[in-house]
Symmetry: C2
Subunit: 293 residues, 2 copies
């Protein structure tokens, strides 16, 4: 059989960043101010730190001013409440994000609820999640929106297709389903998860299979219908003594066994990952434009 097309998230995300750079250059002239994104990181989880670093780099690349708040793991809830309220009122800050996860003594939902929905560029505030499900304009969660954008740029229509989503997290599975059932997407959507019976028979229905379950290489060839489009949202660091760091990043999909069966597939790394940051930048520019309109 023919080789599947490997979807290149790096190239697509760089194209989006280029488009945004042009837009920002124009808008800065009009608004006499650059867009601003505030990132709050509590504690020093290395993964989160690396991710925040990549966000900062993307901001620099495209002309967004980034405000970083790298706070100790011992930061109190009250301190964070005060910081978020300050940022809500700061006219130089158009987007605010609280890097997840936060240390256990903090109530993450309480803090997310405090972020001004107009600056909620992660799309995690309940009012924005609700607007998404209702089909209203909103800040869309970056990872599922990035997947919609990848599909669009590879001209993979979702109209009338059966899309099966594996995983029901608040940041991927649920908003992904919410986007795909809207009239613009018109997909038939199935959501399955750890409690699904006979998952293989369900995933085999998929024209497009989106996997965000957090289990390394969980989806093997027998889960996938011949010719399906496979989107792997997993980012699992596994031990690998053959690498310099002793670890390696793998997806939730067993790429080597699944790729030959699929028509298009995203690799890990280099598939969905870079899209999340591109869409975060896009949401920040949207917040900036709405602030000035």
């Amino acid at each position: 059989m023919s080789h599947p097309i490997k979807i290149d998230g790096h190239v697509v995300s760089q194209n989006i960043l280029l488009e945004l750079t042009r837009g920002i250059t124009q808008l800065k002239g009009i608004y006499q101010q650059p867009p601003g994104l505030a990132v709050i990181l509590v504690g020093d989880d290395p993964g989160s730190k690396a991710y925040v670093g990549r966000k900062k780099k993307a901001c620099e690349q495209i002309g967004i001013r980034s405000f970083e708040y790298l706070l100790p793991a011992t930061t109190s809830e009250q301190e964070l409440v005060t910081l978020i309220q300050c940022l809500n009122h700061n006219p130089d800050v158009h987007g605010i994000l609280l890097q997840s996860p936060v240390p256990k003594h903090l109530n993450e939902q309480l803090l997310l609820d405090l972020i001004d929905p107009k600056k909620d560029v992660d799309g995690f505030h309940p009012v924005n999640v609700g607007r998404l499900l209702l089909g209203l304009d909103t800040f869309r969660s970056c990872t599922p929106w990035g997947i919609m954008e990848l599909l669009a740029r590879y001209e993979i229509s979702t109209q009338g297709k059966h899309v099966v989503i594996v995983g029901r997290s608040n940041i991927v599975g649920k908003p992904m389903a919410a986007m795909l059932i809207q009239k613009e997407a018109n997909a038939t959507v199935t959501i399955c998860h750890s409690q699904t019976r006979d998952m293989k028979s369900v995933t085999n229905l998929a024209d497009i299979l989106i996997v965000a379950i957090g289990k390394p290489k969980f989806i093997t060839a027998e889960y996938v219908r011949e010719g399906a489009v496979v989107i792997d949202v997993g980012m699992n660091r596994i031990l690998d003594p053959t690498t310099k760091t002793g670890t390696r990043l793998v997806g939730d999909v067993d790429f080597d066994s699944v790729a030959p069966k699929s028509s298009l597939i995203t690799p890990v790394p280099g598939g969905v990952g870079p899209m999340t940051i591109a869409m975060l930048m896009k949401n920040t520019v949207k917040a900036y434009q709405q602030f000035h309109s």
Copy 2:
């Protein structure tokens, strides 16, 4: 084959209303105030009027004070904005609902957004819809919540079952899916709609089939798997010269052909319909309790 069990929504809803009556009698003694529900009806659509009448009757039956605002179709948006703001501040009113649909010159979403989420007993405010999808405590939309309650009281578990929802409306299909994918329900959920290809093959996957598509008798026997539980949310008034009024209420399911194939089925009328009002009453009592806590 054996006869299916006909799910009796009247009996279940009356049981819920009885439970609520007892609760309200107790709470009135503590709070020195009855619960209050404000219903706003704009225009004189006969269906809406009848529905508002049933809500008022349920309030009277269980000890909720009802505030009715029956306004002419010519009411301006500004008048409604003022009314909703008044009701938001009225301490005798714990729940507010705007009867849908409103006349075309009014922006329904703008008005729904104005209702204090703490008094949004219909569960239509974006923040409450978002909280539902995120799995947080909220006012749940009454019709899908009524279906969850019917299933629970007939001891039909959704754990690991494949539930297929036909229809993706903001008031039934979408919140229904949001409830069923949460950990408490643990269903595998498929949402299909007018743009779904080969719908019969999808609906035949259902252990539980929930239909809310607004097309009289659309679901016939060949859409249903032998032994499925069938929940019909449709309320379609069709012409029938053999009746006194010349019309008759039918569901989205062709009851006569589907019933022999199903293990349990809801009739129309007398299935899901009465549950919606019971859950509205339940949400009103919840709002009343939260107001006093």
